[in-house]
Symmetry: C2
Subunit: 255 residues, 2 copies
């Protein structure tokens, strides 16, 4: 970053300012510094050591402020790679039933998908419960990482009933939407979805896939798909970088 102004005196330690506000102010000052320099979404921030100099503070304090901005969703980090300005959130309508690529493209962004794993395994307790089967029953396991404008934002683990989708692993699972495949190749329509949403932190595998630090906060979306006969045919666990999406949903309440 060129011509960042050097802080001659520390603007954060003026004596007429209550200490309890300094963290807040450092965050604000940092944010102003970033917006002033008109970083574009996805662009890298100056290194922590540089920022620390500019703002005349220490690394730990600086990192606290950065973490704040991260929690707000204004910036994000890639593990050992630095801090970046967050692009605008993708609006994700839970009930629209749009495949990922179409949803992203409809918002004039670019979507890509990578297949990380495609195998047949035994259903874990959790998966078995969700799909209404006995623990250990064979299931297809499909793990993918999805990007928007080149940024990894989503890590998904799918688990499908083998009896519903025989030999589905033979298809190109990176290019095509699963629900699309279900309909076209297996005549299975998703006619009901159940969601479970919560925020947690990334495990090791998911963190690696998203180039994120293990322990980064994420939005978890667990989804169970039912076919036209009400049978549970597959479930998936989606882990979204929390700053990458804004969930929407519109429906009639049951009562």
């Amino acid at each position: 970053m060129p011509s960042m102004p050097a802080a001659s005196t520390n603007p954060l330690r003026s004596s007429d300012m209550p200490a309890s506000q300094q963290a807040h102010d450092l965050r604000m000052t940092l944010w102003e510094l970033l917006t002033q320099h008109a970083l574009r979404p996805g662009e890298r921030l100056p290194s922590e050591r540089q920022l620390m100099e500019y703002l005349n503070t220490t690394r730990i304090t600086l990192r606290e402020a950065l973490s704040q901005l991260e929690a707000e969703g204004r910036i994000y980090r890639e593990s050992r790679r630095g801090w970046f300005l967050s692009p605008p959130r993708l609006r994700y309508d839970l009930l629209a039933g749009l495949p990922f690529h179409e949803m992203v493209e409809s918002q004039r962004r670019h979507a890509t998908t990578e297949l990380l794993e495609a195998s047949e395994t035994a259903a874990s307790t959790t998966v078995a419960r969700r799909l209404g089967m006995a623990e250990g029953t064979p299931v297809y396991r499909i793990v993918r990482a999805r990007s928007i404008d080149g940024r990894r934002v989503l890590y998904v683990e799918h688990h499908l009933r083998v009896d519903c989708f025989p030999d589905i692993l033979a298809f190109d699972l990176a290019a095509c939407s699963l629900t699309e495949l279900y309909r076209r190749e297996y005549a299975i329509r998703v006619s009901r979805v159940s969601f479970e949403l919560g925020s947690t932190v990334l495990g090791h595998q998911a963190a690696a896939a998203l180039y994120a630090a293990p322990g980064s906060p994420v939005q978890r979306i667990t989804r169970i798909n039912h076919d036209q006969n009400g049978r549970m045919v597959d479930c998936d666990d989606e882990y979204w970088r929390h700053d990458a999406i804004e969930l929407t949903l519109s429906a009639a309440p049951q009562s």
Copy 2:
């Protein structure tokens, strides 16, 4: 906490352990320490200085580990008051249309509500857009804090159309559900809801109401209620302590 074992040697600095794993292990060790001593939900953890002694580490490192457990939702903190073990999450079915108190009681927990503000103000840009009115139009503003088992978990700001609910401020807004009031006193049924979900951090007012540190991560739920004629009658912004809820939802997708 009685009889916490003193750490004679540091279990976290054994030489055969890669440094990149120590953070993870400290978190695990800390968590084991807590579960071993069978803290009950809502119970206070030992002070940071004590834990730092037990685990033979420094305040900063310890706080990093505590923050991790906080992000996972296992523990939470109240500002300047200490760390506490998180109670189980409340299951919140977005489309069930259950009033807060009923939802909580149905899960065998105890709910309370405090009224923080009830006034008539001018609609902000955001509120006006949501309710389909001009900026500056008068609206009722109702701010409440809601607790489960004595713990403040939810801060809500409601904005209602004045023309839909004349003189609603005269009712006891802490005791009664708003949707209940709508139906009983104004013959307005909520027949459609739109949600917007995202994670952010607490502002000052919300943080104070939840006894949380400003900047704590929260789950935001914005809700717009439509009446039987499709008219938008009110909206609210809910800020939930992120470890306090698990959102669920089941519906037919639109496609």
